[in-house]
């Protein structure tokens, strides 16, 4: 009820209101490629956002690859220096740590690339 009264009161416009309405009246603005431009900008933004994570991972991976391999080699040397009795004979059948790290990185990149293709 109260809202109906408010709406009625809003509709009662005085002469000034009518003049202001005439003065403020604006004709519709033609699109003229405006929406297409906005959509293009948004698509570019979406694409950049999607690319940024895999790209950062790829660059980070490339930068970290050499030190990681060196670290893996160092860890392997340390491992070999451990007393024989601590190292079980079964470890000989395990792949070298270098290959594990490299394989892991490649797997990570492959997963990210797949995600990107899916998108």
């Amino acid at each position: 009820m109260t809202s109906k009264i408010i709406n009625m009161a809003e509709r009662i416009r005085d002469e000034d209101d009518r003049l202001l309405e005439t003065m403020f009246a604006a004709s519709p603005i033609a699109d003229d490629g405006f929406s297409a431009l906005v959509v293009r900008r948004i698509r570019r933004k979406v694409m950049l956002r999607r690319l940024s994570l895999p790209l950062a991972a790829l660059i980070g991976g490339a930068i970290a690859f050499k030190p990681l391999v060196a670290l893996a080699g160092f860890a392997q040397q340390l491992f070999l220096q451990l007393p024989d009795e601590l190292v079980a004979s079964a470890t000989e059948s395990l792949p070298a740590l270098q290959f594990v790290v490299t394989g892991g990185l490649l797997l990570l990149v492959a997963v990210m690339a797949l995600n990107m293709i899916e998108d």
Binding site: S3, I6, N7, E10, D16, D17, L19, L20, E21, T22, M23, F24, A25, A26, P28, I29, A30, D31, F34, S35, A36, L37, V38, V39, R41, I42, R43, K45, V46
Partner: protein, 183 residues
């Protein structure tokens, strides 16, 4: 152009995310948003740049649209915030320029258009502050109800009413608006 259709388009735009659905929303509402910003900024080129920024912000914040009010109401709130942010930024920029001694550049940027370029409506709007201007444009140019404006700007309907009353008083005391009816 219905509220329900807007809500469906928002849902579609959010789901995929679907830029085509959002493009349809832009196409539907660009005229209102650009008209609103042109009257607020008083500069068509700046207003259209701001309108683009507004839609970019709207895309980023689309998930915050609750669907309670109209989409255009929500969009105009984003447009108003974009306008205020840009105004603050250009004011800060002018201050920095003044500090480093580029007074002429600062003055050029802050200058108002030549008096012959100013229409009656611009003269009316010039006596109002930003909030009054936004509310008057929403009410008289876009035909929004007090309730819609209050929902859009997040202020009580009573405040909207009193701002409109105050703005009208200010226009009345500054001009004889009857003289401008054909302007």
């Amino acid at each position: 152009m219905t509220w329900g259709e807007d809500k469906q388009l928002v849902a579609r735009a959010l789901a995929s995310p679907d830029t085509a659905a959002f493009g349809e929303l832009v196409r539907r509402h660009q005229s209102h948003v650009r008209n609103f910003l042109r009257k607020l900024a008083g500069d068509y080129t700046l207003a259209d740049d701001l309108a683009q920024e507004c839609f970019m912000h709207a895309w980023d914040k689309l998930h915050t649209y609750s669907g309670k009010g109209t989409f255009i109401g929500w969009l105009l709130k984003v447009a108003y915030t974009t306008f205020l942010q840009s105004k603050r930024k250009s004011r800060r920029y002018a201050e920095i320029l003044e500090q480093v001694g580029h007074v002429s550049v600062a003055e050029e940027r802050m200058s108002t258009p030549a008096s012959e370029d100013i229409g009656d409506l611009d003269r009316f709007l010039a006596v109002l502050n930003e909030e009054e201007r936004a509310i008057m444009v929403m009410s008289y140019a876009l035909g929004m109800s007090h309730r819609e404006i209050s929902e859009s700007l997040g202020m009580p309907a009573g405040t909207v009413k009193s701002v409109i009353h105050r703005a009208k008083q200010r226009i009345r005391t500054s001009f004889d608006i009857k003289d401008h009816q054909h302007g």
